[in-house]
C-alpha cells in the first residue's frame, strides 16, 4: 500500500514537470529557440507572485491574475525586442543570448531578494488529502496541479488544431520563410508564442513554489527537469511531454523511497536510460 501511495505521488508530481516543460517545448517547436533562461523565468514568476502576495495580501493562486498577464507581456517583449534578432543566425546565438538572460535574472533576483529561500503559502489545502479505501491517500493540492496540467495541455491542443493562430504556429514551424510569404507576420507570431509559453511558465513557477522552496539560483535545476520531460516525451508532442513529466516524477518518487538522497538522481538516471533506448523520445513528432 505504501508503494501505491508513492507511485501516485510521483505521477502527480509529473504534472508540475509537464507544466515546466510546456513553455520550453513551445518555443523550441515553433521557433527552434532553445531557451536557457526558461528555468529562471519560472523562478521569476514565483518572485513576481511573492511581491503581489506581500503587497496585497491575496493568496498565491489569486496572484496569478496579475502574474500570468505580466509574464505574457515579458515573453512577448523579450521575443519581439531581443530574441527575434537572434533567430537568423542558427542555433548558437539564441543559446548564448538566453544564457546571458539567465545570468541577468539570477543576479537581479539576488540583488533585490537576497540569497535565502522563499516559499509561497496556500494554507490548509496544502496538507489535505483524499482518503480512499485501502489506505490510499491522494494529496489534494498535487491532484489539483495535475488537473491544471491536463487542462493546459488540452487547451493548447485545441489552440493548435482548431484556431487560426494555431494553424499559423504550425505553418511557421514547418517553414518560416514560406509562412511569411503567405501573409504571416513571423515577428509578431513568435512574440505571441513566447508570450503563451510564459503563461504556462507563470503557472508552473507559482504552483511549484507553493510546495517547494525557491531562491534566485534555483532556475537551472528547473530548466533541467523541463528539458528532461520534453526529451523523454519526444520533441513537439505535448501529451508526450506530460508522459515525460510523469515518468520523471515516478522515478524521483521511487528513488526517494529507496533513499532520500536518490530522489533527483533517480530522475536523471531514468532520463538517461530512455535517451539510450529511444534517442528521439517516446512520441517524436518533428521530422527534422
Amino acid at each position: 500500500m505504501e508503494w501505491i501511495n508513492i507511485l501516485i505521488q510521483g505521477a502527480l508530481l509529473g504534472g508540475i514537470y509537464a507544466l515546466f516543460a510546456i513553455g520550453l517545448s513551445l518555443s523550441f517547436g515553433i521557433m527552434r529557440l532553445v531557451n536557457i533562461a526558461h528555468g529562471d523565468l519560472i523562478v521569476l514568476s514565483a518572485y513576481a507572485s511573492l511581491v503581489v502576495v506581500d503587497g496585497t495580501g491575496v493568496n498565491p493562486v489569486t496572484s496569478l491574475i496579475l502574474v500570468v498577464p505580466l509574464m505574457f507581456a515579458v515573453g512577448y517583449a523579450l521575443q519581439r525586442g531581443l530574441l527575434n534578432l537572434t533567430l537568423s543566425g542558427g542555433l548558437l546565438p539564441p543559446l548564448l543570448v538566453t544564457f546571458g538572460i539567465s545570468i541577468i535574472i539570477q543576479n537581479t533576483l539576488l540583488q533585490f531578494f537576497g540569497a535565502h529561500t522563499h516559499r509561497l503559502q496556500l494554507g490548509v489545502i496544502e496538507t489535505q488529502a483524499l482518503r480512499l479505501p485501502g489506505g490510499i491517500a491522494i494529496g489534494l493540492y498535487p491532484l489539483l496541479v495535475f488537473v491544471v496540467a491536463l487542462i493546459s495541455i488540452g487547451g493548447l491542443q485545441l489552440l493548435f488544431y482548431r484556431t487560426r493562430l494555431g494553424r499559423a504556429f504550425r505553418a511557421a514551424s514547418d517553414d518560416a520563410d514560406t509562412a511569411e510569404l503567405m501573409g504571416i507576420d513571423n515577428r509578431h507570431l513568435y512574440a505571441l508564442a513566447l508570450g503563451i509559453a510564459m503563461i504556462f511558465t507563470a503557472l508552473a513557477g507559482v504552483l511549484f513554489a507553493i510546495r517547494t522552496n525557491f531562491d534566485p539560483a534555483s532556475g537551472p535545476i528547473r530548466l533541467i527537469l523541463a528539458f528532461e520531460a520534453v526529451i523523454i516525451g519526444g520533441l513537439g508532442s505535448l501529451w508526450g511531454t506530460l508522459l515525460g513529466g510523469v515518468i520523471l516524477g515516478l522515478s524521483q518518487a521511487v528513488g526517494a523511497a529507496l533513499s532520500p538522497t536518490w530522489q533527483i538522481l533517480a530522475g536523471h538516471i531514468a532520463f538517461l536510460i530512455i535517451l539510450i533506448l529511444r534517442p528521439s523520445g517516446l512520441f517524436p513528432r518533428t521530422r527534422d
Binding site: 494553424r167 504550425r170 520563410d177 511569411e180 501573409g183 504571416i184 507576420d185
Partner: protein, 233 residues
C-alpha cells in the same frame, strides 16, 4: 489601363553577389506577363524581390503607385501581392485545407473562398483532409496556387508552375490559370518552358545574367530574337 507594378532600376543581392542589375519592368492591371530566361538569369530573384523576400530600396518597386521595396512579405500579402513559390513549398504537417486556410491568414477581402478554390481545382475537394505531403506533384501545385489565391491577390506571382510535372498536368494547371486571369487578377509567370510561358501571356521580359535582355509582346514574336536574348548569343 493602369500600371499595377513597376520596378525602377531594381538591383538585388545575395550577400556580396549581385543577382539583378537595374531591371525595369512594368505590369498593367489585368494583364499576364511572362518572365523567361536561362537558369540563374535572375527570374526567381526578381519575383522574390517583388514579393518582399529580398530587401530592396523603397522606390525600386512601385505597386499601385506606392513605393513598396522596403516592405516585408506579409505586409505585401495584405496589399495584394501573393506568391506561388518555386517547388510549391506547402506546409507538410498541415492538411490540404489547412494549407489553403493559411493563405487567407491576412484576412484580405475578395472573391476567393475555400469553395471557390475547390470549384477551380475539383481534385483538391476530395483530398482536403489529407496531409499536404501525401499529394501528387500536380495536386500539390494546385494546392499551392489555391493557397496563394486565398489571400485574394491583385498580383499573383507564379514561380515555375511546370517544374517537375507531367505535360498533361501542366496543361491542366495552365487552363486553370486562364480562369484566374479571366477574373481580372494580374499574373506574372516565371517559366523555363518558353513555349508554355509565351502562350499564356500577352507580353514577356527575357532576363540574361541579371539584366533585362528583351521585352516584347508575345504575338508574332521573333524566335531568333528570343534565342539571342536567352543565351546571349
Amino acid at each position: 489601363m493602369t500600371t499595377l507594378l513597376r520596378t525602377k532600376k531594381l538591383s538585388a543581392f545575395y550577400g556580396d553577389f549581385q543577382a539583378l542589375f537595374d531591371v525595369d519592368i512594368t505590369v498593367e492591371e489585368g494583364e499576364t506577363v511572362a518572365i523567361i530566361g536561362a537558369n540563374g538569369a535572375g527570374k526567381t530573384t526578381l519575383l522574390r524581390a517583388v514579393a518582399g523576400a529580398l530587401e530592396s530600396a523603397p522606390e525600386m518597386i512601385e505597386f499601385a503607385g506606392e513605393a513598396i521595396g522596403h516592405h516585408t512579405p506579409h505586409t505585401l500579402v495584405r496589399l495584394g501581392i501573393a506568391m506561388v513559390p518555386e517547388g510549391r513549398k506547402l506546409f507538410s504537417s498541415l492538411s490540404v485545407e489547412e494549407n489553403l486556410m493559411v493563405g487567407s491568414h491576412c484576412g484580405r477581402p475578395g472573391p476567393w473562398s475555400l469553395s471557390r478554390i475547390y470549384e477551380l481545382f475539383p481534385p483538391l475537394s476530395t483530398l482536403r483532409h489529407l496531409p499536404a505531403h501525401a499529394l501528387s506533384g500536380g495536386q500539390q501545385q494546385m494546392a499551392a496556387v489555391g493557397r496563394a489565391l486565398m489571400s485574394n491577390p491583385r498580383l499573383l506571382l507564379c514561380d515555375e508552375l511546370s517544374l517537375g510535372l507531367a505535360p498533361s498536368v501542366i496543361k491542366d494547371i495552365y487552363v486553370c490559370l486562364g480562369q484566374i486571369t479571366a477574373q481580372g487578377t494580374t499574373v506574372i509567370i516565371v517559366e523555363q518552358d518558353i513555349d508554355r510561358a509565351l502562350s499564356a501571356s500577352r507580353r514577356f521580359y527575357c532576363l540574361q545574367e541579371g539584366r533585362l535582355a528583351l521585352a516584347a509582346p508575345t504575338a508574332n514574336f521573333d524566335r531568333a530574337a528570343i534565342t539571342a536574348a536567352y543565351f546571349g548569343l
